[in-house]
Structures are given as structure tokens and as C-alpha cells.
């Protein structure tokens, strides 16, 4: 009986909770959030403090992950780097959602010339490979973490425009939308109160997977020197330096790379789990 009366969100949660991989993803993401928020307490040393007496030291009791080319503690830099990566992932995708959903909603709901113009612009954005567009935007805006987040957010926006538009086109022909229109609701109210809540599931799935892509994109831009600027720690910029010392300090490359991999993997696992839970047809 309880099964029959369970709400769709409760059923989705049950489906999600049955997937151990997705729960593992949640646990990893939560661990990284704790690291990011508590970096100042958890990191054993100052991430930008140099020590000329401890240059490129291998992992030891004093420096668990070793030290870098100017004697900074790699573990502390990896912990502080979590902030840049998580911030970039969440802020970039928030920018994409804030821009993409209203634009997609307008295109799908209004149709006609508005839809044609928006679709053409979306096609043009999608025609530029994601990272190349982000590099170009970051280059013209200037290298910094905030500009990298804007560049990634803007570059990922068309995906949300297209997804929202497609979902709106499917939903707007449903009977309940027709009913909402028949009782005299204005179009903006129908779009926000009746269409939007019914298209959130695919948007949540896409947003989770987009965070994974944004974390890689931020690391890529920082690796190229277009994201977080030195001496502030970022996993991508740590890897950029580490590639020059692969023969005598491999630990400099292993930990930041492993951190990117784990965080991206975790968001992918959560995204896959959410997709299965919220949209079982796609399984």
C-alpha cells in the first residue's frame, strides 16, 4: 500500500538509493565539499608557503604527498585546490542554467521567430567545440578563475538551451497545459508554474553531468594558464608545472590528477544514478 501511495520523488529517491555506484559518487562529492569548506583547518601547511630547503621532496611523514618545485606542500595545495575546482563546477553550471533555461523556455514556449533566432544562435555556439570556445572566451576576457568560470558557463549554455527547448516542446502539448491555458493563466505563469516544474528532472541530470565537464574544463584552462593564477592552488595549474618534473618528482602530477579524476568520476556516477532514477526510460 505504501508503495502505491509513494510520491514520484520518493520513488525516484528509492531507485537512486538502490544504485551503490551513485551512492559512492555522493559520498565522494560530499568528502570533497568537506575538504573545500574546511581547507583552512584540514590542510596541514600553508599552500603558498615556499621552503627552499624542501624542494621536490618525495612523500614522507612531514609531507604526505611530497613537495613541489619551490618546496610547497603538495597535500595542502591539493586540499585548497578542491575549492577552485568545486567552485568552478558549481558556478559555471549555475551560469549555464541561469542563462540557458529561460532562453530555452522562451524558444520552446513562444515558438515562431523567437524560436528560430534562438535556435540559430544555439546552433552556432554548439558548432564551436566546447573547450576551444571556452579558451577563446577566456583569452579575450583575460586569464583568471572568475573569467574561466564565465567562459565555461557561457560555452555550456547552449546545451541547456537546447535541452530546455526540447523538453518544453514535448510538455506544452500536454492536457494539463491546455487546461492551465483554458482557465486564463497568462503565458509567463504557464511557463513558470506549469511547464518548468515538469522539465526539471532532465535538467537536474544534465546539470550534474555538466558539473563533471566543468571541473575538467576548469582544470584544462588552468593547465593552459587561463584559469586560476599562481600562486593560488588549482589542480590544473599544479599539473601544468608537474609535467616539467615527471622524471624526478612524479608525485607532483599524481595527486592533483587523481583528485580531478575522482571528483569528475563522482559527478558522473551521481549523474548516471540520477538519470536512471529520474528517467527510467533512458536506462
Amino acid at each position: 500500500m505504501a508503495r502505491l501511495t509513494a510520491s514520484p520523488s520518493r520513488l525516484a529517491w528509492r531507485r537512486f538509493a538502490r544504485r551503490r555506484a551513485a551512492l559512492l559518487g555522493v559520498a565522494i562529492v560530499l568528502s570533497f565539499i568537506v575538504l573545500a569548506l574546511g581547507a583552512s583547518w584540514i590542510a596541514p601547511l600553508d599552500p603558498i608557503a615556499t621552503s627552499w630547503g624542501a624542494i621536490r621532496k618525495a612523500p614522507s611523514a612531514a609531507h604526505w604527498f611530497g613537495t613541489d618545485e619551490i618546496g610547497r606542500d603538495v597535500l595542502s595545495r591539493v586540499i585548497w585546490g578542491t575549492r577552485a575546482s568545486l567552485l568552478a563546477g558549481v558556478v559555471s553550471v549555475s551560469i549555464s542554467l541561469l542563462l540557458g533555461v529561460p532562453i530555452g523556455l522562451a524558444a520552446g514556449f513562444m515558438g515562431g521567430a523567437v524560436d528560430t533566432v534562438i535556435s540559430r544562435i544555439t546552433d552556432a555556439f554548439l558548432a564551436c567545440p566546447f573547450l576551444i570556445l571556452a579558451i577563446a572566451l577566456a583569452a579575450f576576457l583575460g586569464p583568471s578563475l572568475s573569467n574561466a568560470m564565465i567562459a565555461i558557463g557561457v560555452s555550456a549554455t547552449p546545451i541547456f538551451v537546447r535541452l530546455t527547448r526540447a523538453q518544453v516542446i514535448n510538455v506544452k502539448v500536454e492536457d494539463y497545459i491546455e487546461a492551465a491555458r483554458a482557465v486564463g493563466n497568462p503565458p509567463w505563469r504557464i511557463a513558470l508554474r506549469h511547464v518548468l516544474p515538469n522539465i526539471t528532472a532532465p535538467l537536474i541530470v544534465q546539470a550534474t553531468l555538466a558539473i563533471a565537464a566543468a571541473v575538467i574544463a576548469e582544470a584544462s584552462l588552468s593547465f593552459l594558464g587561463l584559469g586560476q593564477q599562481p600562486p593560488a592552488p588549482s589542480w590544473g595549474s599544479m599539473l601544468n608545472t608537474a609535467k616539467n618534473y615527471v622524471d624526478n618528482a612524479p608525485w607532483m602530477a599524481i595527486w592533483p590528477g587523481l583528485s580531478i579524476f575522482l571528483l569528475v568520476l563522482a559527478f558522473n556516477l551521481v549523474g548516471d544514478g540520477l538519470r536512471d532514477a529520474l528517467d527510467p526510460r533512458q536506462r
Partner: protein, 313 residues
Amino acid sequence: MFEFLLKRIASIIPTLVVVSMLIFGLQQLLPGDPAKILAGEEQDPTVVAYLRAKLHLDEPLPVRYGYWIGGVLQGDLGESVRTQQPVLTLVLKKLPVTVELALLAMTIALLIGIPAGIVSAVGRGTVWDTVANVMALWGISTPNFWLGILMIMLFSVQLGWLPASGYVSPFEDLGANLAAMIMPAFVLGNAIAAVLMRHTRSAMLQVMSADYVRTARAKGLSERVVVLKHALRNALTPIITLGALELGTLLSGAVLTEQVFTIPGFGKLIVDSVFNRDYAVVQGVVLVTATTYIVLNLLADLAYFAANPRLRS
């Protein structure tokens, strides 16, 4: 069929026009006077005046776009501030290196992704399916520049089998060329193999339950013939279309891979131009990349059309 081809080719024109507007618009993001910024660090007044006149900076924006696109259509993508060479010449010089890297990467991705997808779908729920899915998850979650560094550590530093960086033209020494390109191509192909595996698995699972596959089995055909001849041929069409979308990943990934392995291609050109503040080259590279991507997608659509007899009729 001819009508379809014409319609599909015509459909890319508005996209190309808007792409050109976007790329032209990038210049507007530059803070301050574009002529001074484009003139580089020295900001030589003669160069600034030359750029102001060349870019028609005193004219309204739509007029400037008109001049710019007029030049682009005649092959004039501007001039590198650093080397004074035409951007098109620079791009064409670097393009073959990236094309070779991309072709090798795509070959590796196809050789890994499609068989892994078939094995995973045919052995659904078995250990092979799990292994293939874990590999796919590894592929899409690993940043390719990190994988590149790890491979350099193993194959160049530890084992000394392959060069860590550099490029040799295949026309000079094919063996040395392949030795230099195999690691970058694998790094670049790895993520695409993962995506192709997922698409292949999903498409194969769909066709494996179709009536004609059941009929083929009922006729007594071997499983090998059923899978490769009947199922795979029908599963290939969605794989072509979805796989074509990965060409963007290929072009984006090339930027990072070329940076890790110091390959003098297209990707390295855009990164070097960014740091030299050679914005005309950045614009030129983005324009050529976007146009290439659009044309490759068009070709993939045509391949899809050619591979699907129902569409042709």
C-alpha cells in the same frame, strides 16, 4: 536524394553566418582600445594606427563586420601581430599535424570503442559488460592531459620506449613519426572510445531485440554472423551520427594533448597565440575549427544517409 543533399548543405549556411558573427564579436570583449591591445606589448603608434585603419575601428560595428567577413570569404583571416604572417598560412601550416593526430586518435577510438560496445551488449550482465562499463567510466572521467603525463612517466621515463615529446613528419621518417604520435593519439582517443563504447552498447542492445535478429537466429545462423552482419550493420547508423558529435571533443582534446606532448599543431598554435596576445590568430583558429566541425558533421549526416537504405528511398 539530391534535394535532401541540397537542403542539408543549405542548412549550414545560417549557422556559419552566426558563427562568424560570434567570432567577430569576441574582439568586443577586449577591455579598452582593440588596436592598442592587438598591437602587442610595445604598442608602437605606427602599428596602432595601421591596425585602427585595417580593422576600420572608427566605423560602426556592422560595417566592421562587413569588412571582416568580406576578407574572410576571400581567405583573409587577418595577420599575426607576432610573426606578421597571414593567419590562414599559419593555420594551414599547422593543420596537417593536427589532422594526423585526430585521424590516429579516431582510429584508436573506433578500434577500442566499437568492439568493447559489442562485447558489452552481447554479454549483457556478464563480467565483460562490467569491465567495459568501468573502462568507459574511466575514459570519460580521466582528464586527457593527466593521462598524457602518466603515459610519459611510464613509457618515456620508466621504460624509455617512446619519446616524451616532439614531432617528426611522416614523410621524413614514418617510424619516428608513429613513435612520437602513438601516445598522444591514444590519450586523445581514450575518451572518445569510452563514448563510442556507450553508444555502441546502447544501439546494439536495441537492435539485438529486433524481430529480424530473432529471425536470423531462427534460420540457424551462427551467433557471429547474427551479431556482426545483422545487428552491427543496423546499429552502425546511430553510432555514426552520435560519434560525429565527438569530433568536437577530438578538436578540443587536441589542444591539451598537443600542449602535453609539445606537438606543433593547431592546438598549440591557439595556446601560443593566446599568450602572445595574437588575437587575430585566436579568432582565425576558432573560425577554422568551427567550420571544420560543421563540415564534418555535414559529412557524417551524409554518411548516415548513405548507410541507411530507408532514407535513400
